[in-house]
Structures are given as C-alpha cells and as structure tokens.
Symmetry: C2
Subunit: 312 residues, 2 copies
C-alpha cells in the first residue's frame, strides 16, 4: 500500500459523508489513522461498532488534536460552531476542510474561527444518496464523482494540491472554482432540483382528490424519481436553502418564468413548441451519460434486459 | 405452457410499449400468435429482424384481421386516425384496447370509429423507460408495474376481465378507475413531474453563467434524475400534454402556488417551515418502497455496497 497522504485525519461529523470518507480512506490507504467525532452519543456508539474510525473521541477538540487533515462533515448551518470549537486545538500547518454543499456561507462562518497557522481549503464532494447517518456510508460513494475545491484567494497552493490528491485517492475527480461560482452551479444542478422535487411531492401529498395510496401505487410513471430526491436529509437541505439563498432564489425565479412559458404552450395547444423543447432536453441527457455521470441502462438499470435476445 | 388468453393479438405500433408487450406475451404464452404493424417502414423492418412478432403486416387493417385482441400502441395524438383505419377490418367480438397515458381524450378520439360488434376497453400500463423505439422493448417491462383499465360505463364486464387477465399474464398488476380520475392521477404522478423536469433541464441549458459542460459534469447532485425523465420520447409527451391539458394545467397551477410558498420560506429564512416540509416528504418515499414500486438501494442501486462489511 502507498504512503498515506496524511498521517492523521480527523472527521468531525460521522454521517453518510463522514463515514464514507473513512471507508474510502481505509480502502486506499490515504490516511495513516482516522479519528472521528460526532455530536450525538448514539452516532459515536454506532461508529465504534462499525469500526470505520481508528478512534472516536468524546469532543471535537480532542479528535482534531495532532491531525494534519481535519474535515468538517456536518450540515452547513453548523460549520461555524464546529470551527469555533476546534479552532484552538488545531495543530500548526494542519489543513482544514469541509464537505458542505454551499461554499460562500461556510467560508464566512468558519474562517473567523480558524487560527492563522492552519490552511483552510473548502471543498464539496458531489456525491450522496437519499440515505443518511453513520450506517449509510460506503467506500465507493466518491468513485468517479466530482469533488470541487474552492480555495481562498490568499490560500497556499500546496495545501490545495495535497487536498486534491487526497480526494483523488478516495476515488473522486477534482476541480477548482470560486466559492460564488460553485454556489451558482450547485443551485442549478442540485439545490433548485431538490426544492422542486420537495414541492411536487408536497403537492401530491396535499391533494384531496388523489389519495396518497394512489400516488404511491402509480409513482413508477415519473413521480418516484422526485420522491427519491425529496427523501434526502431534512436538516442538511434546510441548511442548504438558508445558506445559498440568493443563488437559489435567482434560479428558482428563472424556473418559475420558464414554467409559465411551458404552461402557456400547453394551454394554447402549441405542439410544435413543446416538441422542440422536449427534443432539446434529450441532448443534455446524452451528454451526462457520455460524461460518465450516469448509466445508459433504461430506468437507471432498475430492470434487467435478460429476455431481449430470445427468439420471437 | 398454459392455454393462450387470446388466439391472435394485433399490435398497432411497435415502439417501446408495443415491442415489450410482444416480448412479454411470448414469455408467458399469453398470445397464440402476434401480428404487428408500424407506420414506419424502418420500424417494420427492425421488428422483422428482431422477430418479436410472428408476422408484421404492411397495413394496420391487415394486421387486425382475425385478431381477437387489438392493442393500439401509438402516441395518444394518433389514436383517432388508427381507429378510423382499423375500424372496418375488426372482427366481431374482438377486444380493442390501447396503452395511452391519457384516457378521456383517447376514448373521445377512438370510440366514434369502432363498430358496435367489438368491445372497447381502454387501458394504460404504467411502465416505460427513457428509451423509445422497437429495439428498446424487453419482456420484463411490465413486471410488478400497474396497468389501469378505464372501462366504459356501457362496456361488457367479461371483456374487461379478459383484458385484465392478459395484462396479469404479462406480469402487471391491474386496477380499474374512470377515465377522468385516471387522467387526474396521472397528471399528479407523471405528467406534471415530466413538465417540471423538462422545464428545469431547459433552464439549465439556457443559463449563460453556467456552462452546459458544468451542468453535465456536476449533474450527480440531483439534476441527473431530472434529465432522465426529460429524455423521454418528445412525440409521446407533446401528445400527453395536448390531450390531458385540463388536469395538467390544474395540477401545474397547484404546483406553482406551492412553489411560491417554499420560495417565500427560503427568502424569509423560515428554517422550521422548511425542515417540517422536508420531513413530511420523506414518508411518501417510504410508502413507495414498501409498495414495491422502487428499490431501497441508495441512489437507485447505482452504487454497489460491497466494501461495507470490511474491517475498519
């Protein structure tokens, strides 16, 4: 096994992302040892039982002591409080990072609490599932997924390079951009789609004329993909919307505007407009499959095609 | 193999649904023989090559001759024209059905062209993938999926029962409701989610500040589930929206209203409202998994969890 990228990695927060980092670091040997901390005693207990950390500390400060890499893996609304807690215990030269889905707000929350002798390199692995908690993590979560780093203007390039190499060892591809651009890109690719999916599931749940059991039974026709998105962790998503408010409202506004145009085409019976619109959106899907970010298997591979070749 | 449910089944339209019915009927022995027809010569040629029909006719009228079950599998905007074409050639006592995602409009289009000596039983299998065409069909498409029948008030119950048994032989579960209720249920579970997904993908494509390649690269964060939905057949979906206009506009209106409420909560920073909202939507997802209409595997099972049990 190769030399570890960091001697001691501290993970603050041991949910889906924290535990998956631990599993992936074990798999690759990227960390000499892994120290973990979670605010909830039950999570610490589960982490000890599953054994994905070499040690699970009783305080965040204790976990980060002596670590050369600290990754804060908590909902973005709690990053400031964690930074305040660990700040005084951080070792000189340590790299401090996070995994938040919003970057400008996390930087504003954390930076004031971090001592000058550490390197703060914010990052965001674009990976996740609709499950949460320490039992939902697995080593392959980041394989072939992107991790976006948003280094600060006065940051040390070598610290950024070391963190990139670490994420690549976990299986991810890496990229860099400014925090503000990150927040806009994610509003488009993630935050607004989640807001929309949550809303549509809420509408279905509210309707009196269609029962919940009908919605559930007939969900395979498209709706179930929305429910998967809308089943994601409520705390995480509340914090994302509160902390990326401007970009989300900007894109939501664009979406509402566009929805009215589509709605008008339906009302006016403008078949040509609808056909052209729906044809254009197919091309983006092809791009995603070609970029290796999804499978071309029908229906996400939910169905095997084993019978295809049999005689007619 | 059991006695076939129908001696001769004619399929008019040999795309994803038509070809899958043929494969599923072969698998179960539900059809004595299968005659097919498609408007496009290229599709007929492909169907002959793949061999999922016992015969592929050059006209729709020829295909339905002598058939005791005829299933029209064309976009809902073309059902009326097909009914006019096959009407005079239908055998006395034949059951005529369809697979359209909209029922009231299909009934209005087809019924006037069907002779009094056939039984018209409209139906809608809730199954599909984002792929289309004769090469995309497979025998398992309907397994454990629902097929909704919307019999006419003056219909013959035994014809409905025979069609139900046929769909169950293809692997589907069956249900009955009125055409109007079907159209509302599908507006909620399918048509509006598709309109929303198409719109969001269109918004992403239009933005100048975020490039298409960024959208594609970072789609795994939620957006790619929308692109799968928005990659469905443009002709089929144009026809769905034009033919289920009232129910779609009704539910789209509700959605827009609700979206404004969510948007306001984000603008006002109402975290409690958002958290409660997102918690409620999780329950619906659980219902869908319990009802067997989706997998509980994270991320639709895109990722294997093989490393989960290894030592920490």
């Amino acid at each position: 096994m190769a030399e570890p990228h960091f001697r001691r990695v501290a993970l603050i927060g041991l949910g889906l992302i924290g535990s998956s980092i631990a599993w992936a670091a074990h798999r690759s040997g990227a960390a000499g040892e892994i120290a973990g901390y979670a605010r909830s005693a039950a999570t610490r207990e589960t982490a000890r039982r599953l054994g994905f950390c070499d040690s699970v500390a009783e305080t965040a400060a204790e976990a980060v002591r002596g670590a050369d890499l600290v990754i804060v893996c908590v909902p973005v609304g709690s990053c400031g409080a964690v930074a305040a807690e660990i700040g005084p215990a951080l070792a000189p030269g340590a790299i401090v990072s996070d995994v938040g889905s919003v970057k400008a707000s996390v930087i504003a929350q954390m930076a004031p609490h971090l001592p000058g002798h550490v390197h703060f390199v914010p990052a965001h692995p674009l990976a996740g599932t609709e499950h949460s908690g320490p039992e939902s993590g697995f080593a392959e979560l980041f394989d072939n997924r992107w991790c976006i780093l948003t280094p600060l203007p006065d940051g040390e390039p070598s610290a950024t390079a070391r963190l990139r190499a670490f994420w690549e060892a976990l299986g991810a591809r890496t990229d860099e951009m400014t925090p503000e651009h990150h927040d806009l890109v994610l509003a488009v690719t993630s935050h607004v789609p989640h807001a929309i999916a949550y809303t549509m599931v809420g509408v279905a749940d509210d309707l009196r004329r269609v029962t919940d059991s009908e919605v559930i039974r007939y969900s395979a026709a498209g709706f179930r993909d929305f429910t998967r998105i809308a089943a994601s962790d409520p705390t995480m998503w509340r914090d994302v919307f509160l902390n990326n408010r401007e970009a989300v409202l900007d894109i939501l506004g664009r979406f509402a505007e566009e929805l009215f145009v589509v709605q008008r085409a339906i009302r006016m019976g403008d078949g040509e407009y609808l056909f052209d619109y729906f044809t254009r959106t197919r091309a983006i899907r092809r791009g995603i499959i070609e970029a290796g970010q999804d499978t071309a298997a029908p229906d996400f591979g939910r169905i095997a095609r084993t019978e295809k070749e049999r005689a007619g």
